[in-house]
């Protein structure tokens, strides 16, 4: 891997974060005038994590301030907001947003203190928003099923209810980690958070047992359940499991609920690599092609590839780390990263499928035009939504870990 180029991509990623933060604090998912000029708490939280890693603490604090002030009355952080912080969602509940906001806030709090946590940590900020934190945790717990101690959602990271409606691994890991972050912040403020801690531990235990398949040696994607309060859930109309490989089965380690070296995590990552590493163009796909919801054509995603690169860095596997991070670097175009990459052939298959099925929405037409007009099209590649802010934030985290470990 060319480390000079890797550093240039890092530097541009920092610029991308700075340039895509609205003056009111929200990070656009993609720049104004492109596909996602809104603030999505999921993407926004990862942008904050990127800022923290790049030591842009002022930007991180403003980002947190924005999203915490945008909380809905019941404690939910909704699917997306406009730049003024008004709910502009068009999809059903995505509860991982609550977990991610709390997780990012916890990371900010830790980072402001660093080695001198007792004297330096930004307690004032956490105190100011403590009521918001409480409501965010209570909202998560409001969606916990008491029979299995898992959090119910309709959508999660892929916004795809067909595979995510129920108890989904990413949403549960994010929410569990979010509550644990709130516990740490609460303890630092002297708040009574014992009940939250006990509830989070129950969720963690349920993830590690109910959502892990010893025979498959992997975490599983989802326990499909229609209603959050179904009891017994065996009688729920959807009762079934999604056992297909999904890249977010890595979520328990991503959210630090288990150690990167934990055998459950290492086996899960092996299954992800074996099944989702793209044999034609490299990089990690997010789920199997046959789920057939591949806007712009099936292909690998930069931010998921960065996440797994982080895993290999953490377990000291330099070859694999370089293969993953090097792929992301190779795919950048003018130091910009797309949401995902496909080939013209796969793009045309997707286009045919969606046109014939009459499920190609008007809003996709601009995306299609941009893909066809991108210079990489002439190289046979479909670059979908470029730049996307999320992969730049993940790349910042990966690059810093890589340099710290192997640089």
């Amino acid at each position: 891997m060319n480390l000079i180029e890797a550093e240039k991509l890092y530097e541009n990623s920092v610029k991308i974060l700075k340039n895509n933060q609205h003056e009111k604090g929200g990070f656009y998912a993609s720049p104004p005038g492109t596909r996602y000029p809104f603030i999505y708490p999921r993407d926004h939280s990862v942008a904050i994590l990127g800022c923290i890693e790049a030591e842009m603490m002022d930007e991180a604090r403003r980002g947190l301030e924005f999203v915490l002030n945008s909380q809905k009355p019941l404690g939910e952080f909704s699917q997306r907001y406009d730049v003024d912080g008004n709910d502009a969602s068009y999809k059903d509940l995505q509860i991982d947003g609550n977990g991610l906001v709390l997780f990012a806030m916890g990371k900010y709090f830790e980072a402001t203190g660093g080695l001198f946590f007792e004297s330096m940590a930004d307690r004032t900020f956490v105190e100011k928003h403590w009521e918001t934190v409480k409501k965010a945790v209570e909202f998560i717990l409001m969606n916990k099923n008491e029979e299995v101690d898992l959090i119910h959602t309709v959508n999660s990271i892929h916004e795809y209810p067909a595979y995510e409606h129920g108890f989904e691994i990413y949403a549960n890991s994010a929410c569990c980690a979010g509550i644990l972050a709130a516990v740490k912040m609460g303890e630092a403020l002297g708040e009574d958070v014992a009940n939250w801690k006990a509830e989070a531990e129950k969720v963690r235990e349920a993830i590690l047992t109910r959502m892990y398949s010893p025979r498959r040696r992997s975490f599983i994607k989802c326990i499909r359940v229609k209603e959050k309060s179904s009891n017994p859930i065996g009688y729920d109309a959807f009762a079934s499991s999604v056992i297909d490989v999904d890249v977010v089965e890595y979520a328990p380690a991503y959210f630090e609920l288990i150690d990167q070296h934990d055998i459950k995590n290492r086996y899960t990552v092996r299954r992800i690599h074996d099944n989702l590493w793209d044999k034609e163009i490299g990089g990690l796909n997010r789920y199997p092609e046959i789920w057939d919801r591949n806007n712009g054509g099936y292909g690998p995603w930069c931010h998921f590839t960065c996440q797994l690169a982080n895993h290999y860095i953490a377990i000291d596997d330099e070859d694999m780390a370089e293969m993953y991070m090097g792929w992301v670097l190779d795919m950048s175009h003018n130091y910009l990263l797309p949401e995902h990459i496909s080939t013209i052939e796969r793009f045309e298959i997707w286009y045919e499928d969606y046109t014939n099925a009459k499920i190609l929405r008007d809003s996709k037409l601009t995306m299609i035009e941009n893909i066809r007009n991108h210079p990489k099209w002439k190289d046979g590649m479909a670059y979908v939504t470029i730049p996307l802010i999320w992969p730049h934030a993940e790349y910042i985290r990966t690059y810093k870990s890589y340099i710290e470990k192997f640089g």
Binding site: K72, P73, L74, S78, Y81, D82, D84, N86, D87, A88, S89, Y90, A237, R361, D362, S363
Partner: protein
């Protein structure tokens, strides 16, 4: 087909009919508006649907499945629904602040207009429902006073109604 677990939505539609019969059209109209407003207070400020510049629209009719199924089961559009729509649209045309009313095509529009409008107000904007498309007949209905206030023509709205069911101009209120 009704199953106990999905009876609430149909029960609500029957409730509208019963409310008109028991308390009159005007009371039923207000009752529906109040429900929408109360739900908006619970949900908080915001907009639902797609947005292009200062236009907010719903690409799908949120209640069409429930409503059209109900009408099929019921055999015809209940007269109480028609009376409610006619009364609301009459008020829209006659009231000085007619721009505040929905361009109504379905009875459930009373509920979702009051809900969306209140959420918009909490976010500091006035949503002017300039036009709607009926999910049953595909007919367009306009609110002339809202069009005038929004400085839009029917042709402007038609572009959105080709792909949407409920179109609003976002009118930003001046902050004190």
């Amino acid at each position: 087909m009704t199953r106990i677990e999905n009876m609430i939505s149909r029960a609500f539609l029957i409730g509208i009919i019963k409310m008109v019969d028991k308390n009159g059209i005007q009371n039923a109209l207000e009752w529906l508006r109040e429900i929408g407003e109360e739900m908006a207070e619970i949900e908080g400020p915001g907009f639902e649907g797609a947005r292009e510049d200062e236009i907010n629209y719903l690409p799908v009719c949120p209640f069409s499945n429930t409503l059209l199924d109900f009408i099929k089961i019921y055999g015809e559009r209940p007269s109480q629904f028609v009376e409610l729509i006619n009364l609301s649209n009459k008020q829209m045309m006659e009231a000085e602040d007619g721009w505040d009313y929905p361009a109504l095509t379905t009875v459930t529009g009373i509920l979702h207009h009051s809900y969306l409008k209140r959420r918009g107000m909490m976010a500091g904007v006035e949503l002017l429902n300039v036009g709607s498309r009926c999910p049953r007949t595909n007919n367009f209905v306009y609110n002339e006073k809202a069009l005038e206030k929004a400085n839009m023509t029917k042709e402007d709205v038609d572009k959105y109604l080709e792909k949407a069911y409920y179109v609003c101009k976002i009118n930003y209120l001046k902050k004190e």
